[in-house]
Every structure is written in structure tokens, then in C-alpha cells.
């Protein structure tokens, strides 16, 4: 490990990736990415399917070995000191992998035992975690009796049993209804307040905006952009977006007449997006041209606009 990397790790940096690479044969899943995550930060990994987010997560989780570059987690090398690093991590996987034969409290107990924690300590901790996850009433239920949101909260609670320094959350709210998502966000905010470093992958841009202090957008194994959500919106999008519809047969032909309006124009099959400082002013200009959109909507530019601009709109299965 280079000396400067070691020194950085010994300060407040919890994760340092330099030229981090993962290859499966000839396929490069993660291609020389660089990033640093500092203590207490909520750090996001965004990207379409196959972008390399989950592979990066697995390397940070010290379960998948890197094939190139350097990775330092909590000052240690995961390729050599995986168990030592994992002792201080909390992991919430994409798929819940709870023990379905065991009761809710038993799931927390056995997971805590894997860290070598005593039963006496775990008895108290389990009560705290059940309250945190709002699962106190379900403590004696089998996990297969829980709803999707409850399972997710239990998986998050389980990831906290060792009071981790870094909590890794791989798509924590996928498949949950809005109420369950908001409860989870609230729980994650509390953890952040507690000083826990969060690393999150998500497909939900609103979630990334809500939770992440800083994030990277990945595509095809590479980092396309890095920064705070507001910074990225400022850098890659406009303040507002005007969405106008002229009917799917007319959008393409009308767009020719709209050139010059706003900072950037994007023509989609069902609508035209005009990126501008003021959506209202653009709409006035359109009306002055004698054009009458079927519908129009002015909205604030979002991280989703940045994401789609950087990674494209092509569907990735």
C-alpha cells in the first residue's frame, strides 16, 4: 500500500478507493474507479443495472476480492484482512437474507453471535433494535410472517447489531411502498446523526437526494460524475425543466421550431423537455410562437435529470 494512502486512511477517511478494478475474465465490472468516503458521511452509488454499483459494494463489504487498484477500508486491506474489516461493518443486502425458521429476535441474536457478542449484551441490544425498527410487537413472529417493509427494517436492524462504523445499504427501499420508504429514511437519518457512515446504492433519485451528502454516478464500470446532489444538478442540469406535450405524432416536428428556447432541448417520444433557468419564460416564448401544447409542466430540475443525461435513456436489463 502506498505511504500516502496509508496516511489518508489513518485520518478521517473510512474508505479510499484508488484505481479500484474488478474483472471477471475479460469482462471489466468496475474500471479503475477512485473515491473517498469520510467518517459520518452518507455516500451514494448511483447507476443503471450493470453499472458496477453492487460489485463495488461487495468489494467494500470485503467479500469480493478486487483484481486491480487499491482499496483501504478502516485502514485495512480487504483482500488480506476481510474478517477484521467485516467485524466493524454493517451490511444490508439487496435481497433480504433473513433466517426464515427463526423468530424476529432470534435473527438478531444469531447475527450478533457471528460477531462474537455475548448473549447478555445482545439481550439488551435486541430490545433497542426492535424499538428502532418499530418491530417490538413482532419480536416473537417468524420472519416469513412479516411484510416486505418489516423484513427490510429487520434487515437494517440486524446490520446495526454490532454498532458498525460503516453501514452498507444495497438498494434499501426497493419494492417498498411510500410509507415504508419514509420510515426507513427517518431511521437512516437517525443513524447518520449518530455518526454512522452510510454507503448507499439506489435506483431512486429522490432517495439519493434525501439521504446522500455526496454521490458518484457510475456507468459501465466507470465514474461519470461525483459531487453533492445539488452540485451535480447545478453542473449537469438547469434550474428548471419545462415539459411540454404536443401529441406523440407532433413532438418531433414541433421541436424544430423550439430551437433556441432554453439552455437545452430533449425530444422524447411522448414529450419535449426544455432545460432552462425559468420554465415559465420558456412557456411564454412557445405561446408567442403560436404553438399550443396539449399539456405543460414546469418543475425543478432533479437528480433524475442528471442521471438520465449522464447514463442515457436506453433500457438496461
Amino acid at each position: 500500500m502506498p505511504k500516502d494512502v496509508r496516511e489518508e486512511a489513518s485520518s478521517e477517511a473510512m474508505i479510499i478507493a484508488t484505481g479500484l478494478t474488478k474483472k471477471y475474465g475479460d469482462f471489466v465490472a468496475v474500471d479503475e474507479v477512485n473515491f473517498t468516503v469520510t467518517r459520518g458521511e452518507a455516500f451514494g452509488l448511483l447507476g443503471p443495472n450493470g453499472a458496477g454499483k453492487s460489485t463495488t459494494m461487495k468489494m467494500i463489504a470485503a467479500t469480493s476480492l478486487r483484481t486491480g487498484g487499491n482499496l483501504v477500508i478502516l485502514g485495512k486491506d480487504p483482500n488480506k484482512q476481510g474478517p477484521e474489516i467485516r467485524a466493524h461493518l454493517g451490511v444490508v443486502p439487496q435481497q433480504d437474507n433473513l433466517d426464515r425458521e427463526l423468530k424476529v429476535w432470534e435473527n438478531l441474536m444469531v447475527y450478533g453471535r457471528y460477531f462474537g457478542l455475548s448473549r447478555k449484551f445482545l439481550k439488551g441490544k435486541i430490545e433497542e433494535l426492535l424499538e428502532f425498527a418499530q418491530l417490538g410487537e413482532k419480536r416473537n413472529s417468524k420472519t416469513e410472517e412479516l411484510s416486505g417493509g418489516m423484513k427490510r427494517r429487520l434487515t437494517i436492524a440486524r446490520g446495526l447489531v454490532n454498532e458498525p462504523e460503516i453501514l452498507l445499504l444495497d438498494e434499501p427501499t426497493t419494492g417498498l411502498d411510500p410509507q415504508a420508504r419514509h420510515i426507513l429514511w427517518d431511521r437512516l437519518f437517525r443513524l447518520k446523526e449518530q455518526g454512522v457512515t452510510l454507503v448507499i446504492t439506489t435506483h431512486y433519485m429522490d432517495e439519493a437526494e434525501q439521504l446522500c451528502d455526496r454521490l458518484i454516478v457510475m456507468d459501465k464500470g466507470k465514474i461519470m460524475a461525483e459531487g453533492a446532489p445539488a452540485e451535480l444538478i447545478k453542473r449537469y442540469s438547469s434550474k428548471e425543466v419545462l415539459e411540454v406535450r404536443f401529441g406523440s405524432d407532433n413532438n418531433a416536428s414541433v421541436s424544430e421550431k423550439l430551437k433556441g428556447i432554453g439552455e437545452r432541448l430533449e425530444v422524447l417520444p411522448d414529450r419535449i423537455l426544455i432545460y432552462a433557468e425559468s420554465g415559465e419564460k420558456c412557456l411564454e416564448q412557445i405561446v408567442k410562437l403560436g404553438l399550443e401544447p396539449v399539456t405543460s409542466l414546469v418543475r425543478r430540475s432533479s437528480l433524475e435529470d442528471v442521471f438520465l443525461r449522464l447514463t442515457g435513456r436506453t433500457l438496461v436489463e
Binding site: 469480493s64 467485524a87 425458521e101 457471528y114 457478542l117
Partner: protein, 285 residues
Amino acid sequence: MAPEVRAETKMTWVGAAKLVDPQVSIRFGAFFVAENRLRNMAKWWKSIIAFGLGNPSLYLLSIGIGVGSLVDSSLGPNAIDNVSYLTFLAPALLVSAGIQGAMDEVTWPTVEGFVWTRTFFSMNSTSITGRQIVSGILMAAMARCVFQVFLYELCLLAFGAISWQSIPILLLVSATAGFGFSAIMLAFSASIKDDDGVFALVGRFIITPMFMFSGTFYPITSMPIYLQWIGWISPQWHGTNLGRALSYGSPVEPWLQGIHWALLLMLAVIGITWANRVFESRLAK
């Protein structure tokens, strides 16, 4: 109206750096895995006991006593190995129980851990390594194996098929056979991506022939030579022959007894080495 605010206790938080000593799991991780498996097994304690007592009772009544009476009346008493047919049969039944008991804990639960509930991945997200999972599963499987064989021995004792003095050595032999075979089956189970009926095939084409052609019901030498090889490669025969020699003194040369022990232990070593590799590579993907 003022917004509702839920009063909540703040979590105590020492932090993993002070709370968790990685060396504890590095040293004892396999025991924590075994603890989990035993906790899972405890959920099925009624079935395990019912199977452990019901299976031998039915076997002893139907085959041991039923077929035994026929054999003893046809060939005369103590015609095989100078003992009753039931005594001749007992070591084979115990080895079979040991193999079956251990196998139950390494087949379906392994597919479940990798595919259905993916609990092995949750274990591996802590300090627990693939090798520790292998060791923990085998420890728990051996606990089940010893328990099941012991229950069987109690039944055999009640039927007068074995002496109480032979209980420890028959337990050791049966557990060793169960250990060797379950290690191989653990590695095999870890290699499959989904069940797809593969365990039914294993049952039909490996377990049943192994049980039928390994000198369980008659000496292996009674079979045509072209069928005897099934016994030679079968842990069932090695365990059975050893059990007969060590419990009631069936004439088995010491060198052959050595080969029986060596083969059963070799199966365990091969199985564990293979399982370690499969677990480590599958968990790292």
C-alpha cells in the same frame, strides 16, 4: 394542532471499534455457525425425535424380527457370524442412521443457505468465513448424527440386538461413517445451483443402492463379484464391517479394519477440502 412527535429512546452506541473484537469470531466463528444450525434444528425437535425413534422401531419390527425369524428358521440360529440375524443387522442399521442423520443436515439446508434464503451470504457479511461455515455445518450435522444414532442404539438395546458395552464403539463407527459421507454431500450440495430434483436422484441412485448392496442384510461376499464393488466404495459397507468387527467380534482382519477407518476419514478430508473451495468461491462472487 401541534405535530405528533414520538418519544423514542436513543440507542446506546459504543461503536464496533470498541465493541467487537474480530479475533473472537476468527477463532470461534465455526462454533457460532453451529449454534445457529442447532437453533434451527431445535425448531424441528419433535420431527427429529419422532423420526429417530419411529424409523428404527418400524425397521426392527419388520426386517429385524420379521425377516430375522425367517432367516433364523431357514438357516438355523446364529447362522451368520455366529450371532442372531438381528445382531448381525444392528451395526448396518446404525451406520445407515448415522449417514442419514448427518446427510439431512448438509443437503437441503445447504441449498437453502446459498439459494433460497441466502443465509450463508449473511453469515459471510460478518467476520465469518466460508471455511468456518463448512466447519459449523459439519459440527451441527455430527450433533444430529450422534443424537440419531444414540436413539437408534436405545431401540436396538430394547430389542436385545446389541449389548450396552458396544454402544460407544458403534456410536463412534456410525458417526465416522456419517462424517465422511456428509462431508462429501456438503461439498456436492454447495455445488448445485438449485435442487431441480437432484437430491431425489441421489436418493435413488446412490443412497438406496449403497444401503442395499453394502452387506447390510447379508454378507457382501454372498453377492456376485460384479456387484461387490458397490460395497467396496461405499462408506455404508466400511462402517458396517467395522461395526460388526468391533461390536460382536465378526472376523475382520486388523489390516482391513485399518482400511475401513482410513477410507472413512479420507472421505471426510476430501469432502471438507472440496467444500471449503466451493464455499469460498461461491461466497466471493
